[in-house]
């Protein structure tokens, strides 16, 4: 029996993984989530902004990494629209991020009755990462003369009072790659722009040094960060669902490793 | 009488203090020096001056410049007090400029420094900040070349045993016994990647053995140049072993250039052809585990090797043997016994000794507050 367990058909494991993902998705429930300090910091910072302030979100993820970062975008934008804070969206690294950003902005706007051009705007993509960051520091219009659907920036109501980073209270970089370092080097160091990051699980640990030095005002870490932010604004969504489901998969893997080792030790003792 | 004297004294003191205040208030910026900005392309001039005392009353500085017979003009915006350098990057290359630093008080009073001697911006041919980099590069190149020639002159160079390489023969032998094919995957890297070249060299050695046993060797490629070179490499091995007719060009083919489509294609090959041995050597990304798990599921002996450190954990978990990082490069020397690889392997070891030395020495120095090693290694743009 133990020998069988040790050489179990991998398809049984595949079925278990599938079940552990599908079943939690059919039910709504919540695992209590401790809000970590970096998430709390970001929430507090946005909570402290006056109505009418503006934040910028840089969408730097592609089709293979959006599941973790998109819920963060939704949660933060919900918070902003509730407080009357305007949102400017751009994409720095991936051209494929434009349709993704468009989709999530539209969804949240519909839910919160926000109006395009007055409460939020999506400027789109321009090549040349560091040059885009530096250029917007002098004048946003010098880089983006129009938004992603080619409406001239002069005709967008909310852009009338915004020339450069001086009118932007925060930059939130939702990243799956190395764009955060660019925002810190060029945006923060040169223009003193406040930076926060929301990143996929794989690159979270690279962010801690910046958090320690205060170069980042806050950090959302993967599904978990999104779930924590959703808890703070009291609107459980994809992030909460994601971290709950992902928890079960983690527990399944840990369980499998434990069972495998028990079987291994029993087997070895018998052989001895 | 006493009252009058008192008044006179008070007035005198007041006058004196006011005049002192005024004379101290705005001293002209002192020690103004102007130089051509070092290590640039000649498009800027740097102006430096001494910091004023804190109670000097200066609130801003304004830089003024004059070109040849032109007028004095203001450059840039007001600089906050406390500034002591300014880089003027709006100059015309080759023209002579003189500068004045003007101190401005909160009330708008101004006082100018003396006009400096004329300076022009010139581009430098060598970046002195990169001298350490340049020297280390030369030294390392010399070490590599020296060791290669040393090895070529017939000197024995020892290479330590690399776990996993013994398995190469075992894997090929098993494939031959079972009458199944061998699948060789070179990863995603282009021809410029060291892992790809190392992998091709190992493939050349594997091909020598498969030529002798006439075991089919299948190589799906993701990069067209690599494909082209690999065909030559394998063909040469077959010819060298005296089995040119056993070489089948169609066994080495282009699959696709996209990562997951490539993974899908290789997975399909694995389950359909059931190779007895799979080599995963080269640079890999996320598809590493897709390939290695599928290979494991068909029961093939898997020998992996990569310098993509993010993918190593997955190869370690799913393959029978894994060459870790530099072991992949060492394997080429170990298998081919080519003096070029042996020599550079030794040269790289010298490089490691230098790195270890710098780390150990640096730790000691830094702990005592001496930071010239870190200064030497400073990032320069």
């Amino acid at each position: 029996m133990f020998e069988k367990l040790m050489n179990i058909d991998r398809r049984i494991i595949f079925i278990l993984v599938a079940l552990v993902v599908i079943i939690p998705m059919l039910f709504t429930f919540s695992i209590p989530l401790n809000v970590s300090e970096p998430t709390q910091k970001l929430y507090d910072y946005i909570e402290g902004l006056p109505a009418g302030a503006t934040i910028m979100i840089s969408f730097d993820y592609g089709p293979s990494s959006f599941p973790e970062t998109e819920p963060m975008a939704a949660a933060v934008m919900k918070h902003c629209f509730d407080k009357g804070i305007q949102v400017i969206g751009i994409t720095l690294e991936y051209i494929d991020a434009v349709p993704l950003a468009d989709r999530v902005m539209q969804q949240v706007a519909e839910e919160k009755d926000a109006v395009y051009g007055e409460d939020y705007v999506l400027l789109g993509y321009r090549p040349g990462e560091s040059f885009v960051i530096l250029g917007m520091g002098a004048e946003i219009a010098s880089v983006f003369d129009s938004d992603f659907s080619e409406t001239p920036i002069g005709e967008i109501p909310m852009m009338q009072n915004i020339t450069n980073y001086d009118q932007v209270s925060l930059l939130l970089n939702l990243a799956a790659g190395s764009s955060v370092e660019g925002w810190i080097t060029y945006g923060h160091t040169k223009f003193n722009l406040k930076i926060a990051a929301g990143v996929t699980g794989v690159i979270v640990s690279q962010m801690y040094p910046y958090l320690q030095t205060g170069q980042l005002v806050g950090l959302l870490a993967g599904f978990r960060g999104a779930g924590e932010y959703e808890k703070l604004i009291n609107a459980p969504g994809e992030g909460t669902k994601g971290i709950n489901t992902a928890s079960f998969v983690h527990l399944l893997i840990i369980g499998l490793v434990v069972i495998g080792n028990i079987a291994f030790f029993v087997q070895r003792r018998r052989e001895e | 009488m006493i009252k009058t004297t008192q008044w006179i004294v008070v007035t005198l003191v007041l006058c004196l203090s006011i005049s002192v205040a005024f004379s101290q208030g705005l001293a002209p910026p002192s020690n103004v020096t102007v130089v051509d900005t070092p290590n640039d392309d000649g498009s800027s001039i740097t102006i430096m001056w001494d910091a004023a005392a804190e109670d000097s009353g200066i609130s801003d500085y304004q830089i003024l410049r004059q070109i040849a017979d032109g007028d004095l003009e203001e450059v840039g915006e007001l600089l906050p007090a406390g500034t002591t350098t300014y880089v003027d990057s709006s100059i015309e290359k080759g023209s002579l400029y003189t500068y004045i630093v003007r101190a401005v008080s909160a009330t708008g009073a101004t006082v100018d420094s003396e006009q400096t001697a004329p300076v022009k911006g010139t581009g430098e041919w060598f970046h002195t900040g990169k001298a350490a980099l340049f020297i280390v590069m030369l030294l390392f190149s010399a070490a590599i070349v020296w060791n290669i020639y040393d090895a070529r002159s017939g000197k024995e160079i020892f290479v330590r045993r690399i776990p996993g390489l013994e398995a190469v023969d075992e894997a090929i032998g098993r494939a031959t016994e079972m009458g199944r094919s061998i699948l060789y995957v070179l990863g995603l890297g282009s021809i410029g990647r060291i892992a790809t070249i190392a992998s091709m060299t190992i493939l050349g050695q594997v091909a020598r053995r498969t030529a002798d046993y006439e075991t089919p060797l299948r190589v799906p490629c993701i990069d067209p140049i690599v494909l082209n070179v690999v065909r030559e490499v394998v063909k040469t091995s077959y010819v060298d072993e005296g089995h040119p007719d056993a070489y089948n060009e169609e066994d080495i083919f282009y699959l696709t250039g996209s990562q997951f489509a490539y993974a899908a294609g290789v997975d399909g090959m694995m389950v359909r052809e059931k190779p007895a041995a799979i080599f995963l050597q080269g640079s890999f990304a996320a598809e590493s585990l897709i390939l290695a798990e599928t290979g494991n599921s068909i029961g093939a002996i898997q020998i992996a090797g990569t310098d993509s450190e993010h993918q190593l954990p997955f190869f370690i978990a799913a393959c029978d043997y894994t060459l870790i990082g530099e072991e992949l490069y060492a394997a080429t020397a170990y298998l081919s016994k080519d003096p070029m690889f042996l020599g550079s392997l030794k040269g790289q070891d010298w490089g490691k000794v230098l790195i270890l030395g710098m780390i150990v020495f640096g730790v000691v120095l830094e702990s005592f507050g001496i930071s010239w090693i870190t200064a030497l290694l400073q990032q320069v743009n």
Binding site: N261 | G123, P224, F253, Y254, G257, A286, I324, G325, S344
Partner: protein
């Protein structure tokens, strides 16, 4: 002609790229930019090789009716559909985007998501405490996994995520650094060999 000229070209271009890196002068920087641009111009042509060999491979499969040759027709079908949809009006054309979003992205994303299954089966099989090293491997993996999920904080408040963070920042970082140092020495030494014409295997 066949061997010497390419080696000389390789040497010249390599040396120029190195020297200009150390020289801030306008002339050097302009040279650097121009040559880097040449590299960008040549690289798309590489793809010609790819398409030619792909067509050759599948064409012979169809001609010889090898096993599963019908699927080679599917390859041609997919390729032609994309080219017809994208080539005349460019990649912004709705038909091209529709195909990309509804056919190619779902397949690509699904291939990527197979990793979730494989990571579970690989962990089950490989994480056995057979040796001391294997035990270290499995213990750190489990600690980091527990630290990543909220349940971990329920079991050991803060300890789990702190332990995870410490492992990632310390032993993990130093191991990775060791690998990077060795690997990049190897990469640099190879580049030196290529420029000096000692390494020629890339010429085929």
């Amino acid at each position: 002609m066949k061997q010497q000229v390419p080696l000389v070209l390789c040497f010249l271009f390599g040396i120029v790229m190195i020297l200009t890196e150390f020289s801030p002068h306008t002339a050097s920087q302009a040279t650097y930019k121009e040559i880097a641009n040449w590299g960008r111009v040549i690289s798309p042509f590489v793809f010609v090789l790819a398409v030619v060999t792909l067509i050759q491979t599948h064409w012979t499969r169809i001609q010889r009716r090898v096993e599963h040759w019908q699927y080679s027709l599917v390859v041609f079908f997919g390729m032609i559909v994309m080219v017809v949809a994208g080539l005349p009006y460019g990649p912004q054309h709705p038909a091209f985007k529709w195909l990309f979003n509804n056919v190619q992205v779902p397949m690509d994303a699904t291939m990527f998501s197979l990793l979730a299954f494989f990571i579970a089966s690989a962990a089950y099989r490989a994480f056995r405490a057979r040796t001391f090293e294997a035990t270290l491997l499995l213990l750190t993996a489990v600690i980091v996994m527990v630290g990543n999920i909220p349940v971990g904080d329920l079991l050991w408040p803060d300890a789990a995520s702190n332990a995870r963070q410490w492992i990632l920042d310390n032993p993990n970082l130093s191991a990775r650094r060791g690998i990077i140092l060795g690997v990049s020495l190897g990469a640099i030494s190879q580049s030196i060999r290529i420029i000096l014409g000692i390494e020629r295997s890339y010429l085929g």
